[in-house]
Amino acid sequence: RAGERVTVFAAASLKTALDPLARDWSASTGNTAVMSYAGSSALAKQIEAGAPADVFISADLAWMDYLAERKQVRAGSVTRLLGNRIVLIAPADSSVALDIAPGLDLAGALGEGRLAMANVEVVPAGRYGKAALTALGVWDSVAGRTAQAENVRAALALVALGEAPLGVVYATDAAAEPKVKVVASFPEDSHPPIIYPVALTAAAKPVAADFLAFLQGEAARRGFEAQGFTVLQPAAGQ
Amino acid sequence: MLSFDLRQRLGDFHLDARFSGSGRLTALFGVSGSGKSSLIALLAGLSRPDDGVIEVGGRTLVDTGRGIFVPPHRRRIGCVFQEARLFPHLSVINNLDYGRRFSGQARDPKAMARVVELLGIGHLLDRGPSALSGGEKQRVAIGRALMAGPRLLLLDEPLASLDEARKAEILPYIERLRDEGDIPIVLVSHSVAEVARLASDMVVLSDGKVATSGTVADVLGRLDLMPEEMRSEGGAVLEMQVTSYDPRFDMSVLEAAAGRIHMPGDCGPAGRRLRVRIRARDVMIATGRPHGLSALNVLDGKIAAIVESGRAFVEVHVDCAGSRVIARITRQSAEGLELARGCAVHAVVKTVSLDSPHPPHNPEVT
């Protein structure tokens, strides 16, 4: 079945991890994986509008559920593929030290500055951050002091450039940016699990199942972990 | 055959003009701001009358009552505007050629060459309009209108910015157009000399209304109707007949009941009928037949009227065998010569003061 094309719609934050995997798969099977990265919302709506996607990898469960409800992804193919962590970061030259524990003085640590986050209403990383801070009981004290970016990369840039003294981003992002350092990680139970689900679309070609299996395989695991993701154990359904 | 009856409001200015004539060249005359260009725009179809009618050669171009308004591009009316309005993105030759392309005529290099030569614009053909002098622009604009093969020509002061030499070259061409072609012409001009020479009919506009209209002879003969400053240009127009041409002196003799007139140049075969303008300011009155005087033209007649004209001048109307010749002389002379109504006098005219004649406008007479 060589020579076939699989079109993968994937959340933009997965580009670094997925690009080499897609190349490996293409090289080993003779098929081609075409990757299209964009925001999960845009991708989901495009699939709904009949986009020629075979595989959808979302950055959160909400947009996967959105498609599942509309029967745009194959029931049963939805898999929780990856996990991630959120961390508190500061510029690399910062001397701030904080322990993440209930009642931490985040507002005090910010001083006049702002807490860089992704949009806490709509961007998954922001939502997770807000949940964590709420669980820690500090959200109300910093809610007015956040700088909410369009996406987590922009929040990262705010900290990297010193515009914001602290920020909340994915561990994967923090690891790749030398200009920031991780001050502390948020406990995994302080926020809903960060999950990147994957599924075959309703119109998926048969070969797409191959690619999906490859993503869940050992080679892929190494690739994902190298980027700082947690690979979740494949489990049927959600 | 041109006739119109138009009303248009432009701000405070009201145009209300009515005219009907079958002359080959109708002159539009009037002081600055009297509505000449506005009338031209109406005739060309570039503006709409509030109400009125325009007919050209039997074709109704506008009739607001019947809801008729022929758009400008279907009127085939060639316009030379007061400002040249050349197309700045086209070379002179393409400006000239513009109208032809859309009037569906074949390219006629001979016609083009003729117009180009007449207007003296041969060396400008490849230039853009911005590299032309004022007079050159105006000449190209004239050429452009001619080349479009119009059925009516509207010329809004086409010669105003031209030097005498160039005018002297173009005037005969306009005469030829008038005489040979079947294109009626409407000419706006501030020059009585030009009008007298070219026009068959004349419309005098004053503050948007037609003050006088009629044949040139009629209008120019009524010095009293003309504004003071123009009177010295007014005068009589006589219908005359060529009797002979003397090649030795390059001089023609013309005759009418009024007498004989000498005219420089060959005025055509004997028997040809021509119109001759005699400006009042060029006519002297002699009580006795003058001798030893270089003026060749002496017309005998009786004084029909003496009209005061300002403090220093009078106009002496001399009836020469039925034709009226007008002399504008000083009151001092009139009194010195004891001129009075009924006196037998001689009207003396210097030959060179005559404008070139042209055939009478009325084809039946020819």
């Binding site: 933009a12 990265y37 845009a42 709506k45 020629p52 | 591009h73 309005r85 859309f102």
Partner: protein, 235 residues
């Protein structure tokens, strides 16, 4: 810094070529419409003119994502217009480079129309009148006088549209996604790079390419404009 980082991958070359194609086709294909609408707005009075004017500006006012979304809804395979176009002309926009060109055209349209309109409004109507007395009917007047004299605006409109197309991705990525070789234009590729850690170098590289192309187009347009104006000079 070694020169290697400036070398583009084949995929990136594809994105460059695609961007050029999308921007050129988008600009050229929308030009006739832009000229027509500009003329309507500059020279005609009609009922609903304000509405047309507003609609033209819409892509400027709306966040690009919204425009993209609206395009997806109407020109998508299942959208009302998209379905009709596919049936009657076999013209498919969704997830094709044609869709990217459509998005680029739509996003650049207000800029193009405004530039052309400004130039047209500056054309002396007395020249148009002169042309009509020479027998040119309105369409001919437009083609031989109004349009040539508005060329500076047409050129400016094209270059604005082109530049916009080179930079546009919000509507594009929302409408036709980000599929390499088909809909991944230069800006979409830059976007992808920016979304991931360490992608800055890649983004910078592609950005420089985009700038180089746009500058080249700009300079070409300026040279052309100068030629034009030296011909029409002295207005």
């Amino acid at each position: 810094m070694e020169t290697g980082w400036l070398t583009l991958s084949p995929e990136e070359w594809t994105a460059v070529a695609l961007s050029l194609k999308v921007a050129s086709v988008g600009t050229l294909a929308s030009l006739p419409f832009g000229v027509a609408i500009a003329w309507l707005l500059a020279r005609r009075e009609f009922w609903g003119k304000s509405l047309v004017n507003g609609l033209v500006h819409l892509p400027l006012i709306l966040p690009p994502v919204v425009t993209g979304y609206l395009l997806l809804l109407s020109f998508g395979r299942r959208g009302p217009i998209g379905a009709v176009l596919e049936e009657t002309f076999g013209l498919v926009f969704s997830f094709r480079w044609t869709g990217a060109a459509l998005a680029a055209a739509v996003m650049g349209f207000p800029l193009m129309v405004r530039a052309i309109r400004l130039s047209m409004e500056a054309v002396d109507t007395r020249l148009e009148a002169a042309a009509s007395t020479l027998g040119a009917r309105p369409l001919i007047v437009f083609l031989t006088v109004t349009l040539p004299l508005s060329l500076p605006g047409v050129l400016a409109g094209m270059i604005l549209g082109f530049a916009k197309a080179m930079g546009e991705f919000g509507a594009t990525i929302t409408f036709v996604s980000n599929i390499p070789g088909e809909t991944q234009t230069l800006p979409s590729a830059i976007y992808s790079f920016i979304q991931v850690p360490g992608g800055e170098t890649g983004a910078l590289r592609l950005t420089l390419v985009a700038i180089a192309i746009a500058f080249a187009a700009l300079i070409a347009s300026e040279v052309l404009a100068r030629r034009l104006s030296s011909r029409i000079e002295g207005r």
